[in-house]
Amino acid sequence: MIEVISPGPLATIQDLGRPGQAALGVGPSGAADRGAQRLANRLVGNAEDAAVIEATLGGLRLRFAAPALIACTGAIGPVLINGRAVGMNAPVEVPVSAEVALERSSTGLRRYLAVRGGIDVPPVLGSRSTDLLSGLGPPALTSGDWLPIGRMTAGFPEVDVAPVALPPNRLVLTALRGPRDDWFTPSSLAALSGRAWTVSPDSNRIAVRLTGPVLERAVGGELPSEGLLRGAVQVPPNGQPVLFLADHPVTGGYPVIAVVDEAGVDLAAQARPGNVVHFRLT
């Protein structure tokens, strides 16, 4: 068992979510940065879809009632075991009764802490992920929570440390135009790819909200509600794009101008309020 001493600003349990249930209105949820979540699990020899802790910014403090093997990936920041700094992107032994602390990250927003065996809270509709939009899954972690450790292993850890590239200074998100790029003026499409976009403070696991030039429509009228996927860049009437992350609604009624690829969604999930992002449209 793991005791949550302090969750920091927001810490949730995340696995790879609830795919395949969109027709019921159940969104994908799961880790916001899928690449970092998968890596954390691989480092401790877990199944890829084992549940991990997604910690926002820092301030997460845990006490381990039993020895464990952990790995921390994602945003860059100090990881301390009993006050001593340990490496990121590497499996690390935690002794019995030790305290693990994730201090505030210096680059990036979300860190993933995997424990060998996975976090074994009861699944809801096939997943242990907290979906902040629909309210499915376990509530966000609070002080005093006890988290059981499961048996979701897949072999043994094989690497001592994973080479992870430093996050780029310039966040460039690769996106494909469409499906509704023809609803926008040519100058709006040029602005999407040519201008800098600032991450707004009201961004969350549902979406990264961006501020910049107003994207104007070439077509008036209403779009009948249609499906949304992670990475969709939707433009509501105020012309400020919304890039959907893991907890996005399943359908939406505003046109999607472009869709960011998987790697770009992971990068966007690490963007902090005030960071600048660029789109590369193909």
Binding site: G25, S225, A232, T251, E262
Partner: protein, 218 residues
């Protein structure tokens, strides 16, 4: 049938009517093409998410071309074969009591040229069918509403709509299962729980379920 790209793992199929979209969705649900990971029905569309390692745009386009005739041949009056509909249609309509006190009731009256009382009368008089579900768990898109009550969404979405809010958007009525942001025109509210994980099934409104509204005072 028009195919629009939706990123590297998605394909949006656009059709001419709600019935065609539901028919295509049912066909794809019945025999899921290899590599399809998610199907999201919409009012005029079906969004297909796929695993690029297992299929691609060429294979999916060929599969969809084979379904064109099935989807487009059926007459306008024919009911689309939504899964579960045959059984659900035999069941009595789900009765939903609504207090018609929504903040957009007057705006809907203005947009439609009706009085607020006429909006309520027409909303209650229609018989509805859950065409498809989506947006959030327990949210059903109800078709069959009065043609006079077709209104656009609010130009500025609300940052918070309460659970149980009954709204109009385009040709649909919908009920918010839980509080959240939303752009539908809210005409009333209900105490009926749209989504309850302690209940089986958790969703009150499922595709093919018939729905009737009646007005209550509180």
């Amino acid at each position: 049938m028009r195919l629009l790209t939706y990123g590297r793992r998605g394909l949006l199929v656009e059709l001419d009517s709600l019935d065609e979209a539901l028919r295509l969705s049912a066909e794809l649900e019945r025999r899921r093409p290899v590599g399809v990971t998610e199907l999201v029905p919409g009012a005029r569309t079906v969004l297909i998410q796929f695993d690029p390692a297992r299929t691609g745009l060429t294979a999916l386009s060929a599969h969809l071309a084979q379904l064109t005739e099935v989807v487009e041949r059926a007459g306008l009056l024919e009911r689309p074969p939504t899964p579960g509909r045959d059984r659900a249609q035999a069941d009595p309509a789900v009765e939903i009591p609504v207090v018609y006190d929504g903040p957009d009731l007057d705006e809907v009256a203005r947009l439609t040229g009706l009085s607020a009382a006429e909006v309520v009368d027409r909303h209650v008089a229609a018989s509805y069918l859950v065409a498809f579900t989506g947006f959030a768990p327990g949210f059903g898109y109800l078709s069959g509403g009065d043609a006079a009550l077709v209104v656009p969404r609010r130009s500025t979405p609300r940052t918070r709509v309460e659970a149980g809010a009954v709204g109009l958007a385009g040709e649909f009525t919908g009920i918010y299962p839980r509080p959240g942001p939303g752009g539908w025109q809210i005409i009333g509210h209900t105490e009926a729980a749209m989504w309850d994980l302690q209940r089986t099934p958790a969703a009150l409104l499922r595709p093919g379920v018939r729905v009737a509204f009646h007005a209550v005072t509180s």
